[in-house]
């Protein structure tokens, strides 16, 4: 938006193109996903052996019946000695035994597999969740929140679904196919060669198919995402749509989205529909070939009748696993895409690296001065697209530039400026929610980057503007300010900030449930809880982001008093949305376009007649008008 940012934005987009080439949508990226996935979850490799055992057993179970058919026919029924009941019975009983044993073993292996897979998923989910929390706030911009949630929910779920069925088939079915080939080769290697030669023809077809399916699945996903986005607008923009009679265009837009989705889905299913028939057609060709060659060359091949029948049986048996593999392509791709997305989140760099514990410094006890030298902050918006992280545009905006300021210990500082001037970013830098792209933030004389996380979390506390509360009680929410705080501590904090009357007025006092995001409380009341949280945390440096929203007069008064009490005796930096806050501050920092343009106390700033004076003037003219 600013001219300065445009060059940065260009280089950024170049980098992004490079990135896109890296994550193209060719099948090779499947293997990369798996390779990367195995590095992230090495347990998977360990489980591979167990899965193979299961696969072999399953294959044996499936092959037992054709072999039995052959043996019964050749030796029990149409052998030279004629019908041999004993042999048939013996064979049948041993087959029965094998079937039962295999079922029992499979059960054990399956349980082990599920347990192992679930552990891997749990680990992956928790790690991704943890990683997302370690990402800096710039990664948490509003549009991406839903995307991040889906990384630890629906994406992991696609993997779970896949593991329950698809993944096992991918291991078991190839073994069954290979096993069938082995048994067929045992009956007649010549006929087997014919079959293999024919099926090799399938390979390029299946690969091509795979590619088509992948492409069309991507289109389906995009279409679904678009429809969902439009649906979201219909719901969140409901008031605008109704009051402007915007219903017809919206309906047309929805229709268009739905049609796109329908077309994409049909397109994807065309490929899916013709896969099995094509495989079947080829196998019929093979079957005919085998019958013709087998019969012509019966004696030359030294083939027994039962063997030929078993051979044909096996041929048909192979068809099942092959088509099954074809049918789970879709599930496989969904799962791989989900896996890929999870891995990409894990690969996102953590912008705020924790220092090695033994090198970490501890902030001094007592009041904390703040010193900021040459600090700049550039905000990159990469990964905007939710379908996958590769597309979407990127831009970078310079939010803060060349910030130099010293704040004495115990000073109460107000930060003022228009929306977008960089105030909030400044506060977040001091709270170390984000890290400066240039320069250094020193607190208590120490470079903030070298300070142990526990130390700065304990001594530096930020009260964010939105006053987010967790869906639990008021008490519990206040307690979050300091781990291990007792109910008495909570009560003391409430009393200290003169919030007792308010708390007592709540339906269940401190035990009142605040609802989702604190929705049962008003905006002002949420601020109360946030302030009590700060009070219980008892930091040496307090960073406050005042709420902009209109709050009723009474609440406002209580809030102002609580704020004043909180700031006393500690260093405080307040992002002021009321100029009254600025008036009693020891130091006022005026931000404009990412720079500090004026500093000084209220009186000094007024006399210079700059931006602050202007802001103040407009406010005063408001206030005076009704006297």
């Amino acid at each position: 938006m600013k001219p300065a940012s445009q060059t940065t934005s260009q280089t950024q987009s170049k980098q992004n193109t490079a990135k896109q080439n890296n994550i193209d949508r060719t099948p090779s990226h499947l293997f990369r996903t798996m390779r990367r996935g195995l590095i992230v979850s090495p347990e998977l490799r360990r489980e591979f052996g167990v899965t193979m055992v299961m696969a072999v057993f399953s294959a044996v179970a499936r092959l037992v019946i054709p072999i039995l058919t052959q043996l019964v026919l050749d030796h029990g029924v149409i052998s030279e000695e004629g019908y041999k009941p004993g042999l048939v019975l013996g064979l049948s009983l041993s087959a029965l035994f094998v079937v039962v044993v295999v079922a029992a073993v499979n059960r054990g292996v399956y349980i082990r597999l599920v347990t192992a897979a679930e552990s891997v998923l749990l680990d992956l989910r928790v790690r991704t969740f943890e990683h997302i929390h370690r990402l800096s706030l710039t990664s948490h911009i509003r549009e991406r929140r839903g995307v991040l949630v889906s990384r630890v929910t629906s994406d992991v779920e696609t993997l779970a679904t896949f593991i329950q069925r698809g993944a096992i088939l991918w291991v078991v079915n190839p073994v069954i196919i290979l096993g069938s080939f082995a048994v067929m080769g045992f009956y007649s290697w010549q006929l087997t060669l014919i079959v293999i030669a024919a099926y090799i023809l399938l390979v390029p077809f299946l690969r091509w198919m795979q590619h088509r399916q992948f492409l069309s699945q991507t289109r389906v996903r995009d279409a679904v995402a678009d429809t969902l986005a439009s649906t979201g607008e219909v719901v969140t923009g409901a008031a605008v749509i109704r009051s402007y009679g915007y219903t017809e265009p919206i309906r047309r837009r929805l229709d268009q989205m739905l049609d796109n989705q329908y077309k994409a889905r049909i397109d994807a299913h065309v490929w899916f529909s013709i896969m099995m028939p094509v495989v079947e057609l080829l196998s019929s060709l093979v079957l005919s070939g085998v019958i013709v060659v087998g019969i012509w060359q019966l004696s030359a091949l030294e083939l027994k009748i039962g063997e030929l029948v078993a051979f044909i049986f096996l041929l048909r048996l192979m068809l099942g696993p092959i088509t099954e593999l074809g049918e789970i392509f879709q599930q496989t791709y969904t799962a791989l895409a989900g896996w890929w997305k999870i891995l990409q989140v894990l690969d996102l760099p953590v912008e705020i690296d924790d220092i090695e514990p033994h090198q970490a410094l501890t902030l001094p006890e007592g009041s904390l001065p703040v010193e900021i030298r040459g600090v700049g902050f550039t905000y990159d918006t990469v990964f905007r697209d939710d379908a996958d992280c590769s597309s979407g545009f990127s831009s970078s905006v310079k939010v803060l530039e060349d910030i130099n300021i010293r704040i004495e210990a115990d000073a109460n500082v107000a930060v003022v400026g228009e929306t977008g001037s960089g105030k909030t970013t400044f506060a977040r830098l001091v709270a170390r929610l984000i890290e400066p792209t240039e320069g250094v933030v020193k607190i208590g004389g120490l470079d903030l980057r070298l300070v142990a996380r526990e130390s700065h979390r304990r001594l530096i506390h930020m009260v964010p503007q939105d006053g987010f509360l967790f869906d639990t009680t008021v008490e519990e929410n206040i307690r979050f300010g300091r781990g291990g705080a007792s109910s008495e501590d909570v009560a003391a904090a409430i009393d200290a900030l003169s919030l007792r009357d308010w708390v007592d007025g709540l339906p269940d006092g401190v035990q009142t449930q605040v609802g989702e995001r604190g929705s049962q409380l008003s905006i002002g009341e949420r601020q109360f809880v946030a302030l009590a949280r700060a009070q219980i945390a008892d930091p040496r440096l307090l960073i406050l982001d005042e709420a902009t929203s209109a709050i009723d007069h009474e609440t406002e008064q209580t809030l102002m008093e609580a704020l004043a009490f909180l700031a006393k005796g500690r260093t405080s930096i307040t992002i002021a949305h009321r100029l009254s806050t600025a008036e009693w501050a020891d130091l006022v920092l005026v931000f404009h376009d990412g720079r500090i343009v004026e500093t000084g106390n209220h009186v000094e700033l007024l006399s210079t007649g700059g931006i602050y004076a202007q802001l103040y003037e407009s406010w005063v003219s408001d206030a005076r008008s009704f006297l």
């Binding site: 552990s119 969902l228 607008e233 265009p249 044909i312 929306t419 007069h553």
Partner: protein
């Protein structure tokens, strides 16, 4: 389903063809065994028979391929069309539903209905048609077996019965635990959502570790339940896999004896064995079908609940819809009562606004200011009382006329994903002129753009829009440029102004706009002399209005000018106490500043 009858019939034909070719193929394999392979064992097969065998085999597989493609394609199309139709109905309903009903639901829930629920609800259609073909397959396979030998059919029947008993037991047992899995998945999502939603607080409080533990607990509960279900599956899947094998063993045992007695041929035995193989598939499909059915029904219920809601509150359209003159409107509100969620939000509100007047609504939070504006706009239902525009009851005014005459801008400025131009126009193409530069010829894009720029200029948005890459065509919204809160509000205001409204309502619509810019906006609004009702908190705004309607607890306490109302102590304390304090401080500061400037 009825809607796509032809597609379903075609799919059914395909399914029947599939059954015919499958059973026929199995039978023909037996024929080949008897007439080709066994004959070949004696050394003589005439090439005619062999040719015939190969020809028929190929014909069967081609026919089977076509049948499968037909069944899948047409079924697919039918399902997808049904899904599209249902989804359209549902989304249309979202567009039509009264705000009050829509607000009672969470956005996430509504999105889930249109996405996952619809998917699940229609998913049973897919196996439904397939299941019918499966029944056909079952019946014909049993008939063929009966023809081969009744005893073999009996074995098949008992196999089938055992298998269906086992799989139904499995489905019955796994149903509740599976539902619990879904519950726990939901729990994990809720934790993740809340945690990321409050990321700033989590970070500032250093609660990352505690949050990870919270998610881990939820995820572990999910894992435990999944493993529980997995154990059931581990027991039943091998069982369901193994039973057909056991059946085939019995078949061979009995079959060999029958072949020896000469009651069946070796070929018949091959046919029977192949058919046994075929019989297991239908059961699996039926299993999936039955397993998914309860979920589909639940999802369908959820979707139906939305579809059953009344689209709009009844509009008494008995009288012919009246048109309005194109001048600024007068507004008369009498004894307006609105209840929401069981409590009275507006309790007998009456006041009138004359054409061109600007009225400011003042009152503490919860006094009903926003509700009042929503009621006038027709966003919410009123319980009693009347709202009249130019003396005509609002419900008698033609809907389109009303939409064009009234414009509202909200504090929460909503922008659609699209260009600035689209957001301002909302595809309205008949802006009324309110200055000479306005032109009705919307087909001319230059003129349209001119009109958009006029609206943007009045909303003090033209400067920053001009600086955007692409200007009017710059994409905003979810995937576009991120505008600041104040910028969004100004675009939303331009949207309200673009249509040339005769009654403008601003619900704290400039709260995030810089005070200096805001006063510029109000100056230009005053010059339009459009009837305006606004909710505002800034002093200069209260001052600039013609009159103030002072509300509390859903009642009008007073209607007068701001100056007059300042005589009332409660009004004064509401709007002034805080500002007064600061003014006193300001005067001291000013004195100090003067002193300081003299000093230097």
């Amino acid at each position: 389903m009825r809607a796509h009858f032809v597609l379903h019939v075609l799919a059914m034909l395909g399914a029947a063809g599939f059954v015919a070719t499958t059973v026929g193929g199995a039978w023909f394999l037996g024929w080949i065994t008897d007439h080709v392979i066994l004959v070949a064992a004696d050394g003589r097969v005439d090439s005619g028979t062999l040719g015939l065998a190969v020809g028929v085999l190929m014909a069967i597989s081609v026919a089977s391929g076509i049948a499968v493609i037909m069944r899948r394609m047409f079924l697919m199309m039918a399902v997808q069309r049904t899904q599209r139709d249902w989804r359209r109905q549902l989304l249309y309903r979202y567009v039509d539903l009264p705000m009050s009903l829509l607000r009672k639901r969470r956005i996430g829930e509504l999105l889930a209905h249109s996405d996952a629920d619809l998917e699940t609800a229609t998913s049973f259609l897919m196996p439904l048609a397939f299941a019918l073909s499966v029944v056909l397959l079952l019946v014909s396979a049993l008939v063929v077996l009966l023809l081969v030998h009744p005893v073999l059919m009996l074995i098949a029947v008992s196999l089938f019965l055992t298998l269906s008993f086992v799989s139904r037991t499995y489905i019955r047992l796994v149903e509740a635990p599976s539902a619990e899995v879904q519950q726990r998945v939901g729990k994990v999502s809720a934790v993740a959502y809340e945690s990321f939603d409050g990321a700033v607080v989590v970070k500032t409080l250093g609660r990352e570790h505690a949050e990870v533990e919270r998610l881990k607990a939820a995820a572990e509960r999910l894992k435990a339940q999944r493993i529980r279900v997995g154990r059931m599956r581990a027991t039943f899947e091998p069982l369901i896999d193994g039973i057909p094998a056991v059946g085939t063993v019995f078949l061979l045992l009995v079959g060999a004896w029958l072949v020896d007695r000469g009651s069946v041929s070796a070929g018949d035995l091959v046919v029977a064995a192949t058919l046994f193989g075929l019989l297991t598939m239908p059961l699996r499909i039926m299993g999936f079908f039955l397993e998914g059915m309860p979920r589909s029904v639940v999802s369908m219920d959820r979707v139906d609940k939305i579809l059953d809601l009344q689209p709009e509150f009844p509009v008494s359209a008995k009288k012919p819809a009246s048109k309005l003159t194109s001048k600024a409107l007068s507004l008369e509100i009498e004894d307006l009562v609105v209840d929401f969620d069981g409590h009275r939000v507006l309790d007998g509100v009456s006041f009138a606004v004359s054409p061109g007047e600007t009225v400011v609504l003042v009152g503490p939070t919860g006094s009903g200011k926003s509700t009042l504006l929503e009621a006038i706009t027709g966003l919410i239902e009123i319980n009693s009382g009347s709202i009249q525009l130019n003396g005509i009851p609002i419900e008698e005014v033609d809907r389109d006329t009303c939409n064009a005459a009234l414009a509202i801008a909200f504090q929460e400025a909503f922008l659609f994903a699209g260009t600035i131009a689209e957001n301002v126009t909302l595809q309205r193409n008949n802006p009324r002129r309110y200055d000479d530069s306005y032109n009705d010829d919307f087909r001319n894009s230059d003129i349209r753009n001119h009109n958009i720029w006029s609206a943007l200029t009045m909303a003090a948005a033209s400067e920053f829009v001009a600086a955007l890459p692409g200007q009017l065509e710059a994409i905003v919204g979810e995937r576009g440029i991120t505008l600041s809160g104040g910028q969004r509000q100004r675009v939303a205001l331009a949207r309200a102004l673009f249509g040339g409204p005769q009654l403008l309502m601003l619900d704290d619509a400039t709260s995030a706009v810089d005070p200096l810019v805001e006063s510029r906006i109000f100056t230009s609004l005053r010059s339009l002399s459009v009837t305006t009702i606004m909710v505002a908190y800034r002093m200069s705004t209260l001052e600039s209005g013609d009159r103030v309607v002072y509300l509390e607890n859903g009642r009008v306490l007073a209607t007068a000018t701001h100056k007059e109302l300042l005589q009332r102590a409660d009004y004064r304390s509401l709007v002034a106490a805080y500002e007064l304090q600061n003014l006193v401080r300001h005067q001291k500061a000013e004195a100090a500043a003067v002193a300081a400037s003299r000093g230097t």
